[in-house]
């Protein structure tokens, strides 16, 4: 089931109605059932993987809780991690490694014939696996207590709003909320609905509309060139932001209605003034996960400068690989890692050459220049992210300089799903991006107060103005093709 479907528009009110109709003691049963139903609507058999992952982690957690000594807990932690990563490897990475090995053997004329594993990648596998691993490691480290109640634990792993694409939650933050009694609260439910509405605006009005132009370029590498590719890459950067943050808004809004406060994933990332700030504002729960479970165990920043640079670069490359088993994602992370390394070197050796230091009296100007610079910098790895394979990335990058400019074709002759002329969709896209920029700017200037809080604090006429305008935009300008969220594939 995807959020932007009629199915979900029936599912959500039904679950919420039942949720507030039953005693809080039994709500976990409802949430667990709803979560598995939500997941099984996609492919019922793969629910088995969640059951398996949940059972292993529950069992290992219980075993670890019996021992105070870390040494005795360690085997259980290793077992849990190995099992989780094995499932992840088998379904997500096996074919990639197999193909790479085959290519390597072929290059030296050695026969290699291990067949590929032809199974669909389970939706949300990377997300719930990471969530499960964080639980095990936290229990091992003693920062979280093992959950004794299997039902609550299973609900924690499979909680439907964040099951398929996060935000990745930590046990100590989220699981206790499942045991609390949340009564129906008008203000809270209203805020949840505002967040959902805004999420739909980002997804079905902006992201799905921009996809028309992004697809046109990235699905036909070699057919476009010049500024058209730069434009499509800018649009992709906004598309992926609206797509993923739109998903998170719907997830957070749905959870909020039920009283659950999930960790947020985005804080106006395109207003970042450095690449490090960008990663503090983009896919926050994954960044924090990687920081806590990979970067810090590697030594973090409490090591020599070169080692710290390596840790940064390695962590981001792994994070890129987490997205998918493809060289494009590895390169996505690698390039981001390279930028982080360069920014750290620059800050260390050329601190006086930073723009704000050079122009201390032109804060507005330097902020805008830096934001635009960082936005463009993050667009470079996005070329890898958006391409289907590394060869196509090469063609696309080359076409920027060698192919005649096709911007006019892109704007006027792309193929919208309906019969609307491409130029109208393009103008609408620009208009909606302006709305997004305005809203994000407002959030940015209010230190990233969530939109639902910000709107709720407004006077009545402005509040209702927001409801009516956003609801109208969602109703009238939704792209109704029910396209899946980009991050569902991870």
């Amino acid at each position: 089931m995807i959020f932007n479907s009629l199915h979900f528009l029936i599912f959500l009110p039904a679950v919420i109605f039942l949720y507030f109709s039953i005693s809080y003691r039994w709500r976990w049963v409802l949430l667990l059932t709803a979560s598995y139903y939500f997941y099984m609507c996609w492919k019922a058999e793969y629910a088995f993987l969640i059951v398996l992952s949940t059972s292993i982690d529950y069992f290992c957690g219980l075993q670890m809780s019996k021992h105070a000594d870390k040494k005795k807990r360690k085997p259980w932690m290793i077992m849990s991690i190995v099992m989780n990563l094995s499932i992840l490897f088998l379904f997500k990475y096996f074919n990639f490694f197999n193909d790479t090995t085959r290519a390597l053997f072929d290059s030296v004329n050695i026969f290699y014939n291990v067949p590929d594993f032809r199974l669909l990648l389970p939706v949300g596998l990377s997300f719930y696996t990471f969530q499960a691993i964080s639980y095990t490691v936290d229990v091992y480290n003693g920062t979280a207590k093992a959950e004794k109640h299997f039902g609550f634990f299973a609900t924690f792993v499979s909680y439907w709003p964040q099951l398929v694409a996060g935000p990745i939650q930590r046990k100590e933050h989220f699981l206790p909320q499942l045991k609390q009694n949340f009564d129906f609260d008008y203000q809270r439910v209203k805020e949840g609905l505002i967040r959902i509405l805004y999420g739909f605006f980002k997804k079905v009005v902006i992201a799905d509309r921009l996809a028309i132009f992004v697809r046109e370029v990235y699905n036909h590498p070699g057919d476009h060139g010049g500024f058209a590719i730069i434009l499509a890459t800018w649009l992709f950067a906004i598309q992926v932001y609206c797509d993923f943050s739109g998903y998170c808004d719907i997830a957070l809004g749905s959870a909020k209605i039920m009283g659950h406060n999930l960790k947020d994933n985005f804080k106006t990332p395109y207003f970042s003034k450095s690449i490090r700030e960008f990663w503090e504002r983009w896919h926050i729960t994954l960044t924090v996960w990687v920081r806590d479970y990979l970067y810090i165990p590697l030594g973090g920043s409490k090591v020599s400068f070169p080692r710290m640079l390596f840790n940064n670069w390695f962590t981001l490359t792994v994070m890129g690989f987490w997205h998918g088993a493809n060289w494009t994602f590895i390169m996505f992370g690698f390039v981001h890692g390279f930028f982080i390394v360069m920014s750290r070197i620059w800050d260390r050796y050329f601190p006086k050459l930073n723009l704000p230091t050079l122009m201390p009296n032109a804060k507005w100007f330097t902020n805008i220049v830096l934001m635009f610079w960082i936005f463009n910098l993050t667009c470079i790895p996005d070329i890898f992210f958006c391409s289907r394979n590394i060869q196509e990335t090469g063609v696309i990058m080359q076409s920027i300089f060698t192919h005649p400019d096709t911007t006019h074709d892109l704007i006027f002759n792309s193929s919208p799903s309906g019969a609307t002329p491409s130029i109208i969709e393009f103008c609408l896209s620009l208009l909606f991006i302006a709305v997004l920029l305005y809203t994000d700017y407002k959030l940015y200037t209010t230190k990233d107060v969530p939109i639902e809080k910000s709107v709720s604090a407004k006077p009545l006429y402005r509040r209702w103005g927001f409801y009516v305008v956003i609801a109208l935009l969602v109703a009238w300008f939704a792209v109704t093709t029910n396209s899946a969220f980009i991050y569902f594939q991870f």
Binding site: T420, V468, L472, W476
Partner: protein
């Protein structure tokens, strides 16, 4: 919770009202670019036209207005026929009723003759949801009739409920203009026009051959090449004949709602002093089960039928076909010629003149025009 429902309801009501106001700013034809082009052209020159053809692609591609006018006027100069072709692909009978109502509402003073192409109900499946071409014509007057007709028309219990439900859902989508914002902008930006679809004479007739010449990169060339093998044409003809023979009897009952629709059209035209003829084109045989009983219930003077392949073999000959469902330019010339003749007969019948004593139009003695068995 009551407070939430009330406020949510208020928001929905506001959106509905604004959407309805926006819809009022659009012409009735907004959802179909070809229809909209034809309508805009028609309202600019409506004083000139006294005859309208309303229907699907079988009207759009087969009735050459220019030729029709010449043929009829040569025979009956007093009629001063000047026709306009409002045929659009995939148009259905309830849509024709909607179009006719709107065209008459716009200006009925010149209108004397209307020809409506009989076609099946909209094939409403989930894949047709959200498409403006499918839903622009729903309104409070016709939606219940469409749902009722679908209920009567569908065979399986599941579809008896699911198809009307899809129509109802689409009606709600139209009411709230779900996803229709770009169409609104397109309409008001003056970009909801495709002048080519008016055809070379600007009267709404556009043969498929001509369109293939005008748009060589379109999918028509593929259709033309793939579907015109003799074996396929023979199979098509046999199937069509089989289905015609099977359903052309009194055992099959027509869809009561659509039958009532057609009777209402005839009565409506009578009231407005418009002569109406309902035409049934030759089909692939699909939905003959539904169309032939309807056709058979119509009064003789109000109908012209081409549904029987053995009666009109020329429309199954390779040299007259563009694809399996449509005639090419020579085929449409032949069709228009025969149609004009039949049209005059029906108008005479409506005027109380016996068709047996009138002169017939026969400009081409070599064609194999059959005897009209109804006479």
């Amino acid at each position: 919770m009551k407070k939430l429902f009330l406020r949510f309801g208020l928001l929905v009501l506001i959106i509905l009202v604004i959407s309805q106001i926006a819809l009022m700013t659009m012409p009735f034809s907004w959802g179909n670019i070809r229809l909209n082009t034809k309508y805009e052209t028609y309202i600019d020159n409506h004083e000139q036209y006294n005859t309208l053809f309303i229907g699907a692609s079988t009207t759009y591609r087969h009735i050459n207005c220019h030729q029709f006018d010449s043929l009829v006027n040569a025979q009956r100069p007093d009629m001063q026929i000047r026709s306009f072709n409002f045929g659009i692909p995939a148009n259905r009978t309830p849509q024709s009723v909607y179009m006719l109502g709107n065209l008459v509402d716009y200006d009925k003073s010149n209108l004397k003759y209307v020809v409506i192409d009989l076609s099946e109900l909209t094939k409403m499946g989930a894949d047709n949801l959200h498409k403006k071409e499918m839903i622009y014509w729903y309104n409070y007057d016709n939606i219940l009739g469409v749902m009722k007709a679908s209920y009567e028309s569908e065979k399986s219990i599941g579809k008896k409920f699911s198809v009307p439900a899809l129509h109802a859902f689409s009606f709600a989508e139209k009411s709230f203009m779900i996803g229709m914002g770009p169409a609104l902008v397109q309409q008001h930006a003056g970009m909801n026009l495709e002048m080519r679809s008016l055809g070379p004479n600007g009267d709404g007739f556009y043969s498929l051959d001509q369109e293939m010449i005008d748009d060589p990169d379109g999918d028509l060339a593929q259709r033309y090449n793939e579907l015109r093998t003799q074996d396929t044409i023979d199979y098509r003809t046999q199937r069509c004949q089989f289905l015609y023979d099977k359903y052309n009897n009194s055992k099959n009952n027509p869809n009561k709602t659509i039958q009532k629709n057609l009777e209402d059209i005839i009565a409506f035209c009578d009231e407005n002093d418009i002569k109406v003829v309902i035409m049934l084109s030759q089909r692939l045989g699909d939905r003959y089960e539904y169309l032939i009983p309807l056709y058979n219930k119509l009064p003789e003077e109000n109908k012209i039928g081409f549904q029987n392949p053995s009666e009109y073999p020329m429309f199954n000959q390779r040299e007259n076909l563009f694809d399996l469902a449509h005639l090419n330019a020579p085929g449409s010339t032949l069709f228009t010629e025969i149609f004009a003749e039949k049209f005059l007969e029906r108008i005479d019948m409506q005027n109380g003149v016996s068709p047996l004593v009138k002169d017939t139009i026969d400009t081409d003695t070599t064609r194999s025009t059959p005897e009209d068995k109804s006479l």
